[in-house]
């Protein structure tokens, strides 16, 4: 990683050296980074002796240690400015007369730094006294500059000793900074309870929706600013690696802890996820959704802000630190999603959890997109999209598994009474719930079945499908892949039900079965705007007309035969009613109706409307016919015994009986009124 060292390195000049002679401490502000950049020809190093003398002299009268320190610092700065610029080419430096080091000045400075500051800080003093901290950081900065500058020079043995001492103290100061930096990173966050307390007081309104730490990562501003200064000094002192390592370690530790302790996210190996019970997995998925949301909306942006604030002078560094930090967490989260996508969980309610995860990844992408930049960011975005694809593909498989459930439902036992088949209920309820995720499923089918088609080498039939769909473009163009899938499921269900209808020996019952199931399907579809929209009105109209057909078929099968008994034809021969035939007619009507009543009251039509429609339509054909038959011919039977024998039902009895049809009751024999 690159470091941006301050470029305005001290250079020398007569004016600077002269300033040293000015013993008045207030005459010149202590300038940490001398800005003068004077011509190089003008180097003059002969004044060093005087400099030393001056310092020794001045250290006497100045009794205030603080003022004394300021003075020394100032002199050090002067000395630094007097040195040749180290940005020159080395050859030139070789020829320069060796610089005389102001030994005593430096020694005094070092003593001061060590005694007055470093030791004190190392001992017990708390970091956090702004003046103290600033002056320490300035001292460290001087030391760094001394190290850098003196390294450029040819030193005599005494100079080397001094340089060695400077190097030692520099290292000590840097280690101290490192330690402090870590301490601030690890220990100075506003604790969670503090944050919560503050939320309660001031931020109740804002935090209501989340109830989570809104103040992530939770360093007070002054701490962030201290960290920024420390980082700056460490980087300019050449200790950037230590600085980054400490930062990375502290933050990754913290992030992982937050993920675990605050969000309850547990690490699971993919292998483990495969073997998890659904109940546990479901819980983990819920935690994952929450954790992912929290990371995407709060943690990552907080991390980014922090990195940018601490390393404000080094945007590339903060970007790379942020990238590395989030990558670890993100991959961990995504691997869980990948693991879940691999599990073989195939049922409706499970599909919805998968879709929840899918939506989470999809919906949080925009907020992450703004966070992740550059190559590393692209990489992470790809990872997120890959995980989303996996979930999408699995969701498709799960949804398409309904097809298999339908195809493989080949039971040979008809449902008693022609009632709604459990498969119909299961399929329709599945679809109804699924369509609550209609938009997501539309997207999933649109995006992820396409991906499979595009890059899969193992599914040649897709190619066939594609050519086919090209041929049928007119028909399929308006259909989304999801509604096509839905259509397919409905067709499969239909043909399966037709098969099941054939299991009934009684054609009328077959038709009742088809009506029951058809009605159930239609009701479900009309009850859900989403499915209705997907299936379309045309489809519904077609279904309704099918229903009418089943109704007609039923009517014909059951009631037309009965009505045959009431046919006036063949009863009148030469204007006379043929009694035996009439008796026979009544007999067979009674018998047939009895039979119908007995059988069909065990049949089931649970949809009230359909039930009443059926009864009404039956009554409408049977009762008028019977009434008129009775009205016309009952007179030919002798009152009393004969009438009692042949006219078993009054029209009202017929109506009562019809009203008892399709109730699924084990029927008692039809009885005429007492």
């Amino acid at each position: 990683m690159e470091t941006n060292l301050p470029e305005n390195s001290p250079s020398c000049g007569r004016e600077d050296t002269e300033a040293v002679f000015d013993a008045n401490p207030s005459s010149d502000q202590t300038d940490r980074l001398p800005k003068e950049n004077v011509g190089e020809d003008d180097r003059n190093v002969d004044d060093e002796e005087i400099v030393q003398g001056e310092v020794t002299a001045s250290s006497g009268p100045v009794s205030d240690p603080h003022l004394e320190y300021l003075k020394i610092s100032e002199n050090i700065d002067e000395f630094l400015s007097s040195l040749p610029s180290n940005t020159d080419d080395d050859n030139e430096n070789e020829n320069v007369v060796p610089v005389q080091i102001p030994h005593e000045l430096i020694e005094t400075f070092l003593d001061h730094l060590v005694e007055a500051k470093l030791s004190k800080l190392e001992g017990a003093a708390q970091w956090g006294d702004p003046d103290e901290d600033l002056s320490f950081l300035e001292a460290v900065h001087r030391i760094s500059n001394l190290t850098k500058s003196l390294r450029q020079l040819k030193l005599d043995s005494h100079g080397s000793q001094i340089f060695n001492r400077i190097g030692g103290i520099h290292q000590r100061a840097m280690s101290f900074l490192e330690e402090e930096f870590r301490f601030l990173l690890e220990e100075s966050r506003t604790t969670e309870s503090d944050t919560k307390g503050r939320q309660d007081q001031h931020l109740q309104m804002e935090s209501e929706s989340t109830g989570d730490m809104i103040n992530f990562p939770g360093y007070p501003d002054d701490v962030v600013s201290s960290m920024n200064k420390m980082a700056k000094e460490m980087i300019s002192g050449g200790y950037e690696s230590e600085c980054f390592q400490v930062y990375m370690a502290a933050r990754s530790n913290e992030l992982e802890e937050s993920l675990h302790k605050q969000l309850g996210f547990e690490k699971h190996s993919i292998d483990e996820v495969q073997r998890m019970q659904w109940e546990s997995l479901e819980r983990e998925i819920a935690t994952w959704i929450k954790a992912f949301k929290q990371c995407a909306t709060l943690y990552f942006s907080g991390e980014k802000t922090l990195a940018e604030a601490v390393f404000s002078d080094h945007p590339s560094i903060s970007a790379s630190l942020f990238g590395n930090l989030t990558r670890g967490v993100l991959i961990q989260l995504l691997d869980f999603a990948e693991g879940v996508a691999m599990t073989k969980q195939r049922s409706a309610e499970k599909l919805f959890k998968f879709l929840d995860m899918y939506e989470n990844l999809r919906d949080l992408m925009p907020s992450m997109e703004s966070l992740f930049e550059g190559e590393c960011g692209d990489d992470l975005k790809t990872e997120i999209n890959l995980a989303r694809c996996r979930l999408g593909e699995t969701a498709i498989l799960m949804f398409c598994d309904l097809e298999n459930s339908i195809k493989f439902d080949t039971g040979k036992t008809p449902v008693p009474g022609g009632a709604v088949h459990p498969l119909t209920r299961y399929s329709m309820n599945y679809l109804k719930y699924a369509c609550e995720y209609k938009d997501t499923l539309e997207q999933v089918f649109r995006e992820h079945s396409k991906i499979e088609r595009a890059d899969s080498i193992d599914r040649p039939q897709y190619l066939e499908d594609e050519t086919q769909s090209l041929n049928n473009q007119n028909e399929t163009q308006s259909r989304s892949p999801f509604s096509a899938q839905l259509m397919r499921v409905m067709e499969l269900l239909d043909s399966n039900l037709e098969g099941k209808a054939k299991l009934y020996k009684d054609v009328a019952l077959s038709n009742i079965f088809m009506m029951n199931n058809g009605r159930y399907i239609l009701q479900k579809i009309k009850g859900s705007a989403e499915i209705h929209g997907l299936m379309g009105d045309t489809w519904c109209r077609k279904r309704s007309s099918d229903m009418r057909q089943y109704h007609k078929n039923y009517q014909r099968e059951t009631w037309n035969k009965l009505l045959g008994c009431l046919n006036h034809e063949g009863l009148n021969v030469n204007g006379k009613v043929v009694k035996p035939v009439l008796k026979e007619r009544f007999k067979s009507f009674n018998q047939m109706f009895d039979e119908i009543h007995k059988t069909q009251s065990t049949w089931v039509v649970s949809d009230e409307q359909l039930q009443s429609e059926l009864r009404v339509s039956i009554s409408a054909v049977v009762i008028p016919a019977y009434r008129s038959f009775l009205g016309r011919f009952s007179q030919y039977l002798q009152a009393g015994r004969q009438t009692e024998k042949y006219v078993k039902f009054q029209p009202e009895d017929i109506e009562d009986c019809i009203d008892k049809l399709f109730e699924g009751n084990p029927a008692s024999t039809a009885r005429k009124r007492p």
């Binding site: 060695n164 030692g168 330690e179 870590r182 990754s252 993919i270 590395n324």
Partner: protein, 389 residues
């Protein structure tokens, strides 16, 4: 070096031929040819690996660049395997014995391999951390004139490096005491301080996850097909399982991984199988290395660069311990040559580790993808009529 370039591959040939042959039935001869080609392909790639591993120069055994080659070989074999197993093949073949048992077993191995990939990926993160520590030492030692400050800085970094290298697995880095500190914070925040400083950055695996056990589980039920099975699809499934197992095992041996106690050094690969010979030879070499290492030093893995860091680091710590300012020229020269070797090693790591990590992630995604594709084939078999949608 992209693994996806299937140069010299027969994948294309197969796909062309498959497209020409409309019916797959009765093409047993062709299938045999495919299998032979696949075996030869695997044999060739591993023999390349073996010969390059004996090269003293570039890609010596278990170096970062060798591992990258190894992962590449894996990716290539995997692509070929998929072509043999599923491309254009009648799906029902996969659902017949013995494949109905072997393929799910294989997929189970794939799932385990995914976890190994993740663990190794974390491990590479640790190795990068070693590298960073070594780089600090290099930069401190390279400064001239060299004094107490530089030496102390380097020593501190190297001590941390040594501690990190010997860190107990699963100890969550608590054992890595700081090499050198002022002690103030250390006294008040023991745990933090201990875990702090040069705590490695790896993200651990799930609690209780063990690389050794995972490898063990991958080798369960791995039996070479016999008799008639050996000429059918059972053979490539076995070969690919073995390749996967070997590559994962080698990665686990090279890169620090969670819980490697009891990592097996023995593979049930019959050496008489032609395609396996180079692999067996490599396996023996690595196992030899593994056994040579002491338990303590094994933890950091067999990666050549890591071992170099360890050796040079140790020696440079000795230099630092005996350092007195001003340094003697002779000792300085000796140190400088070690430092330059350390710098070279760091450079290799810098160049290779991130790409290696990316490759491992690629393996991860590839395995996921292939698993899905195989499952899709199985799914199609499950459906009565094939066309979906």
């Amino acid at each position: 070096m992209r693994a996806t370039d299937n140069q010299g591959s027969f994948l294309n040939r197969i796909s062309i031929r498959r497209n020409q042959v409309v019916s797959m039935d009765g093409n047993h001869e062709q299938e045999l040819e495919d299998l032979e080609l696949f075996q030869k392909y695997v044999a060739d790639r591993f023999s390349d690996l073996l010969s390059s591993s004996s090269d003293e120069a570039a890609d010596s055994l278990l170096s970062v660049s060798w591992l990258r080659k190894l992962v590449d070989v894996f990716l290539c074999c995997e692509a070929e395997f998929k072509a043999v197993l599923i491309m254009g093949r009648d799906p029902s073949q996969v659902s017949k014995p013995p494949l109905d048992r072997l393929v799910p077993e294989f997929l189970d191995r794939v799932v385990k391999a995914l976890d190994v990939c993740n663990a190794v990926s974390h491990g590479v993160e640790s190795v990068r951390h070693y590298q960073k520590l070594a780089e600090i030492a290099v930069s401190a030692f390279e400064q001239r004139p060299i004094g107490d400050g530089q030496v102390r800085r380097a020593k501190k970094a190297l001590n941390s490096l040594m501690l990190t290298l010997e860190e107990k697995e699963g100890s969550n880095h608590k054992s890595a005491e700081r090499a050198w500190s002022f002690g103030r914070r250390g006294a008040t925040n023991k745990d933090r301080a201990a875990a702090g400083q040069f705590r490695s950055l790896s993200w651990n695996m799930a609690k209780g996850w063990s690389a050794a056990k995972q490898i063990q589980a991958m080798s369960a039920n791995l039996v070479a097909p016999r008799g008639a099975e050996s000429s059918g699809l059972a053979s490539p499934v076995y070969i690919m399982s073995t390749v996967t197992l070997f590559v994962m095992w080698a990665l686990v041996a090279a890169i620090p991984c969670q819980e490697r106690n009891g990592l097996s050094t023995h593979f049930p690969v019959p050496r008489q199988l032609g395609w396996a010979q180079s692999m067996v030879a490599l396996q023996e070499k690595i196992a030899e290395e593994w056994k040579k290492k002491k338990e303590k030093t094994r933890l950091a893995g067999l990666l050549e660069e890591t071992q170099k860091l360890e050796r040079l680091g140790q020696s440079l710590i000795e230099f630092a311990d005996s350092f007195h300012f001003p340094a003697e020229a002779a000792r300085l020269d000796e140190m400088a040559s070690q430092v330059s070797e350390l710098a070279d090693t760091c450079k290799k790591m810098e160049e290779g580790l991130v790409p290696l990590q990316q490759q491992i992630r690629e393996v991860f995604h590839r395995l996921v993808r292939s698993r899905t594709e195989v499952l899709n084939v199985l799914d199609q078999v499950g459906k009565v009529s094939a066309p979906t949608m």
